[in-house]
Amino acid sequence: MPYSLVFNFVPETLIPPDYATGRHLNALFITAVNAVDPELATSLHEQKITKAFTISPLQKIPPSRRDSPPRIPEILQAQHQRPIAPQTPCWWRVSLLDDQLFGRLSQLWLNLNPRQPWHLGAANLHITSILGTPQSTQPWANACSYEDLYETASDSNRRLRFQLATPVAFRQQKYDSALPTPDSLFRSLHNSWKKYSGIELTGFATENIFPSYFNLQTEILDFDFRKKGKASKFIGAVGRIDFRILGDVDSATIKALNTLSNYALYCGIGRKTTMGMGMALAIESRRS
């Protein structure tokens, strides 16, 4: 069962912008897993391709009035230029793709009053809550079994809409491409689905998908790996892109593509999804 968990937390002291990057959040997650299951932490760390989890960049909760809850922006902040002030409510998303992961980490979700607090830079993080069920104010929290994702997917909806919330990029042979083509986008989703779901999507094909609307822009992310010969700057696309399934396509193919677009919430799209890139939401079509 894939889970998308939102961690709400408050830092006790200032978080420098260098520590709010995907790399440090990734390290924080692995450290937290290590506290309850060192063996699992090592295996998650060593996974090379299509890792069993994804991580979002750190997000501040915008100030709100009491009568209107804070709204999560459509495009998330992928990196921070300024330090995050103490006592600023923040959130962070971790998604788990492997069926067993949530259960193995249940001790982590329930023992959040550890003797050693969680750290980002010098800041102690006070986790206030973890959301794992659908929320009206937080679109990134949810959980749904692979069977339900497949069973509830439409077999007639031909319009697939995506909100790319953090930069999306794809590896194409030697280089990276920031342009989300139907083939690269759906193949990325399909690769993750094949690895973790155990359900075969018969009829999966990308030939009849065409972009019908896009409002995209590029964003540059600097991961600052500080390693020689390792690219640290990534260019990705953020914004809206809609696809249409055109022509004579059988219902199995339509169902497969709808399943994959709903699965995007959990697995993300393209490269570096464990460093905060590739967060995407399928927007429900008004006409389905």
Binding site: V10, Q87, L110, N113, T128, S129, G132, T133, A141, A143
Partner: protein, 238 residues
Amino acid sequence: MTQIYRCHLELHDSLYFATREIGRLYETEPILHNYALCYALGFIDNPRYQTQVDSENDYRYFCRHQVPQYQAHLTKLNEQNIYVTPARSLTHTAVLNTWKYADNRYHVEMQKTQKNIPSFGRTKEIAPESQFEFFVISANPITFPKWIRLGKWMSKAELSEIQHFNNPQRRENQQFTVPYPLNPLDVMFSHHVIQFDTINMPPVSLIRNVKLEGCCYHMSQDNQTLTLPANMTYHFQP
């Protein structure tokens, strides 16, 4: 015969306890832990409910060691089949208070201090008129007090029992969702917990919007259906 009481609490004072301490801010979340409610309702070490504990663990106003004896106290409730769920807020507002303490004796011998430690902070408290809701599941009928006291300030709260379900319907192996907060340790050994939101608080984090599978009590009254997990008992971490 199982009795289920649906209870409401209305605060008549501002309620304070530290759900978390963020630097100098001491924050009270609008959720009451079930351990705290057991003490507030007077179920602990009470001859009326036959929950007396051994003399070394007895519960009184002055406790020499100031260490909570949850396991010793609450195990007695398990023996009497009394279970209290955590309380959720129905309506609430919060107030921020700044406090400072100083030495106000008339004559103070001046001593050089080693460190300059100011003694001030802010508390976020739950304001009077806030309302909470919780359930009590018991094998025997219970008469509730009208007033109870809660939190670090022993704030006064009015207790009212709004619904009493006598012998609720019990169903086996159901998949159901409970919107009320639950104590995960008390349900996870008897039920398969599938999905939940965690609220981080000591001594045991609570969960809400819980989807679980197992035995449940099913109650319907006035076109309203309530489902609560059955077999909830106090469990403690080893």
